[in-house]
Symmetry: C2
Subunit: 341 residues, 2 copies
DNA sequence: ATTCTAATCCAAAACGTTTTGGTTTTCAAT
DNA sequence: ATTGAAAACCAAAACGTTTTGGATTAGAAT
């Protein structure tokens, strides 16, 4: 069926060794032979058998990405953009990308283990770090290469890229207090997500710095979906003394909150200010456009992938740990009346 | 390093052959030996070397999915949901999923070729079929297994799942004409996408059936993003005699159109009706909620994946070609005034 | 003529598995 | 005692590549 080194060797009248070395441009093969081998390889349409190569060479030139998915109806713009970043960078550097989808938990960890031991991939990209992150613990302990998007509190001797969520949420808080908001609600994500931890911290610190009290009744938690944002915001806005601003810890929940406010007849930006975090593409073209904090998700995907591949190739990384300063994007969801066109 | 069959064989005092056959439950190994081999394999933490297996067995137990991405800032809820469907089903059936990201074009086709010839995967899932689809032509010609989400016009002797876009768009058109709309605009996707073809056809036929003229000025084309929907709808709604309804061929453009209408001070559902197609999760929780056509994207991902794996395993498919009837989801973007709470 | 060096080349081993084509052993039937 | 069949086992080949550790040849230097 497929063309092998042997076929080429037969045609050229040289050994398999020589053919292999010719194709790899070793210098103990004469220029003439190299040329001939290459032309015949081309002619026969030779493509190396990747499993033979991998069996021999002990590495897979593949990186693994296990997407933590929740429920079947899983849809998060974050992931398609991040995946595109990883995928393009991997291709650029000659690596394959093996993707699995697993809800966080035991099965997820087993998948890591199987892929490490097989060995199916050379390294992993980990996303949305968690408190007491089993994935990171496992891979660290196995000394298996990985790069994470996200820090951890206790255990930080690994390569990562992260955004400074504390700082970003500080920008949001200052922006809102500058506008005079006193009652600010917060749509939190489940506590075990590190990103939620930092963002929440930034919010709380921001309030304190601006001399405001923290009102526990206005701190609520959802599962990061638009649906959750809608639900939580509805509850908040229908209580007797509703907040004048709602800070969501991600854009999706913020979009849900916008719908909820509008459903209640409120004008977002005037009657209530709403902010997000991430700056997903949807944030710009919703109505009103969403004030949020920009995270370069695609670039982070590229960076993380590049760092991982360099680590696999045992090249030194200039920077093992990168924290990006996000920037505030002010749009109409926190400005004056918008129906003035 | 890693535990091999040889290690187990040494421990058990049997040959590598016997160990291999014991682990595969062949019946020419005694029950006692099987038990012993298994317990020692367990004890040593044996995991087969996947490359040796694949080199030997000639199949990869991996399916390929090459995501057609546009630009870096690529974000489409369709893909995260579809990918989750494929990923979960593949895992359930013991297959790996190799994902690449490529903008449609030459590089994309080369990626297919390389993966076929390496051979890196056992089959492909193809998504968003196109007129004169090079991917399908190539794989058909190579007799390489694949299943597509989408039909083609000319060449239809392959396995696919598709939604009946014509029918779905017919539902939309009837719904709008029932509501009395006379000037209906259409936000089309680029003509080479088959799904765009069927949906457009459904729209045009629907108009005709309801005795309406087709106004070419109201047919405009965008790149399926929210941004495009926003732009196109703004243009449409600011012309001297604007449409009373805008039909978008996908939800993302519809969401953009909603923003555009609202930016212009219009109340969507009252001043202008807007519809989408896909029923992405965002459609339910935007404001106003979007009238659209439901496509079970996650399930289609699962189905397509299962069909592909069955095809690879040379099991017979009950149905090689499946066309799903979508259903209309009427929400407030095509109803009366909504700010009435 | 001999030795040395550099330029080419290659047989065989190795990677870890599965499969092929057996062999050996045991025991019942003749 | 001999035959046959069934049960249990295994050496070697095969998959296609890379690497190891040389071998061969030609030409230059002695």
């Amino acid at each position: 069926m497929a063309v092998t080194l042997k076929d080429i060797a037969l045609r050229v009248g040289k050994s398999v060794t020589t053919v292999s070395r010719a194709l790899h441009d070793f210098d103990d093969v004469s220029p003439d032979t190299k040329a001939e081998v290459r032309s015949i390889a081309e002619e026969l349409g030779y493509i190396p058998n990747i499993h033979a190569q991998r069996l021999q060479s002990k590495h897979t030139d593949t990186i693994g990405f296990i997407m933590p998915t929740f429920g079947p109806r899983f849809s998060d713009p974050f992931f398609s953009e991040f995946l595109t970043g990883i995928g393009n960078q991997a291709a650029k550097m000659g690596f394959d990308l093996l993707v699995s989808t697993r809800p966080p938990g035991t099965m997820e960890l087993q998948t890591y283990e199987k892929n490490v031991r097989s060995p199916r991939v050379d390294g992993f990209i980990i996303v949305r770090t968690r408190q007491d992150d089993q994935r990171i613990k496992f891979l660290s302990q196995m000394k298996f290469p990985f790069v994470a998007f996200g820090r951890m509190l206790d255990h930080n001797d690994y390569a990562y890229v992260d955004e400074d969520g504390e700082y970003g949420m500080g920008l949001i808080t200052s922006h809102l207090t500058d506008l005079g908001h006193k009652r600010i609600a917060y749509l939190d994500a489940p506590g075990h997500f590190m990103f939620a931890h930092y963002r929440r911290q930034g919010f709380l610190d921001g309030l304190k710095e601006n001399g405001m009290e923290i009102n526990q009744d206005l701190m609520v938690t959802g599962d990061m979906t638009q649906r959750a944002g809608y639900q939580l915001a509805t509850d908040l806005l229908t209580q007797e003394s509703p907040p004048t601003a709602i800070v969501a810890c991600n854009d999706l929940m913020a979009l849900g909150a916008i719908s909820a406010a509008q459903q209640l007849g409120l004008t977002v930006g005037k009657d209530v200010a709403i902010t997000g975090f991430d700056n997903i593409p949807l944030a710009e073209h919703c109505h009103p456009p969403l004030t949020t904090v920009h995270q370069p998700i695609y670039q982070i995907g590229e960076m993380v992938c590049e760092m991982l591949i360099k680590q696999i190739r045992a090249e030194s990384l200039e920077q093992e740990q990168i924290i990006l300063q996000p920037s505030l994007v002010v749009r109409q969801s926190t400005l004056g009346p918008i129906n003035t066109l």
